[in-house]
């Protein structure tokens, strides 16, 4: 199962700057990024080509960061594709806690990444429904 790196950030200017500087300096590539903001603080979610390494660099720099398991599937980059996946999740009562996506370079396919409570069970539900689950290594190099 793949991982994203979640980073705690105060709600203030420069919060991204420190993170991107450390990752860039250490030659870690950011595939996708999203920020969840509560008003007081936020959590930056990063899809990195080397998540474990990236997380370590951030932690060593004293940043509150951690690896979080995620589910990633491939969907067609067409209208209604995401809906197929979400309706299965909804019918199986799986709550999506956070989600983001990105398209794959030069292809008409996209990646849908999301956080759920039970990663294994969710992967199985989607697999059974015919979706392609992306494994750890695949995801970061798409």
């Amino acid at each position: 199962m793949p991982h994203q790196v979640s980073v705690f950030a105060e709600n203030k200017p420069g919060k991204l700057n420190r993170v991107t500087e450390i990752l860039g300096k250490n030659n870690i590539n950011i595939r996708a990024i999203t920020i969840s903001d509560t008003g007081d603080y936020g959590i930056i979610k990063l899809l990195l080509d080397k998540p474990a390494e990236g997380n370590e660099y951030l932690q060593n720099a004293g940043i509150a960061s951690t690896l979080v398991s995620i589910v990633a599937i491939i969907i067609d980059d067409t209208p209604g594709s995401l809906h197929k996946a979400t309706s299965i999740l909804s019918s199986k009562n799986v709550n999506v806690e956070d989600a983001y996506g990105f398209t794959i370079r030069g292809e008409d396919r996209a990646v849908f990444v999301f956080q759920v409570k039970d990663v294994h069970a969710t992967e199985k539900i989607l697999k059974d429904a015919g979706f392609t689950i992306i494994s750890d290594n695949e995801l970061y190099y798409l």
């Binding site: 979640s6 705690f8 950030a9 969840s36 007081d40 603080y41 959590i43 940043i63 951690t66």
Partner: protein, 431 residues
Amino acid sequence: MYLDEKIETMSRNELNTLQFDRLKKALNAASQTRYYNKFFSDKKIDVSKIKTLEHIKDLPFTTKHDLRLSYPDGMVAVPASDIVRIHASSGTTGKSTVIYYTQKDIDHWANQIARAMYATGTRKEDVFQNMMGYGLFTGGLGLHYGAEKLGCTVIPSATGNSLRQIQLLQDFNTTVIHITPSYALHLVEVIKENGINPHDLSLKKAYFGAEPYSQATTEKLENLWGIDAYNSYGLSEMNGPGVAMDCIHKKGMHVVEDSYIVEIINPNTGEQLPDGEEGELVITHINREAMPIIRYRTRDLTRIIPEPCECGRTHRRIERIKGRSDDMIIVGGVNVFPSQIESVLMNIPEIGNNYVIIIDRENGLDRMHIQVELYSKLFQGDIKALKRLNKDIVEKLRAIIVINPRVEFMEPGSLPASEGKAKRVIDNRII
């Protein structure tokens, strides 16, 4: 003019004799208690050697720490059956400071407050609305009993519920209130928001207490409310409110010297300072049967005003409290030590060792917010978990410090480090 002319205007010589007589009694009573008995013998103090009032300086200080060590009843000087009431204040370790009273002590306390209220012009015809906390806190019940003794109509409205307070003020033509200055600032705004001109109320005067505030705040409040405000000083260790109060001239608070011996000391050396010099107030309670307390270090900074007051009372005055000789902060009338907050935070693994306490005043109400750093290694990457953690910290803090702080998470390394003299408290209030 005076409720008890003999006591209030007695000559300094007579007062000294009375004080010495009561000091001897208090020392003898204290020596019989479990705590002071050991305390005096450990420090090789022979109370029979105290031959004059000046010798009081040879006695050791009692501190809040001693009161905690004596918990629950190590300083009680009468049989348990003679106790009619206890009051308590919150403590660092969860242990409170408990104060005991006999019926006679309650009566003395009520009398001295009645005297002080009378000295500000309050009479039995007045309607007294007591907007102080009732319960273990001494602020509410202290003035309640004093006002009843004086014969006022007492409305025990306690704190909060501003709309009901306003209704009571209007419907019962309240003439005197007892209130914290911060709540007075808030309440006057609510009154105006409700389309009422505070100057149209029957209110004539207010007693301010339980928290420090400046002369400027007093004057501002007098103008906003259209009243005369009188300072009141007290602390639960010395009964509660009524240790010292302004008279009608509002030029310093007369200490009830027939019940208390006050000294000013240098807080660093413990050395007694002459009248007029600023230092820490030390008080000996010489008129309480249940719990005599000798040379209690209040940690409050003030000075004794040596000049006689134009009201004719011979009891000396102290100036409004200037600050503290320790790091105690008073938030919305509640005493808080940063060490109490620290003891809670240090036991929460998900946060680091550094913290900053920020106090603000918004719409007249004190707000505390505490910045803490997340500990990077235990970060779970989850907003829900952070919210749970936040709630958990707030609840643990509230259990210790009684008030409800806001807790703000900060990035690791963003707060001043705990080594050295980091500034832990930022008080933005203009008092």
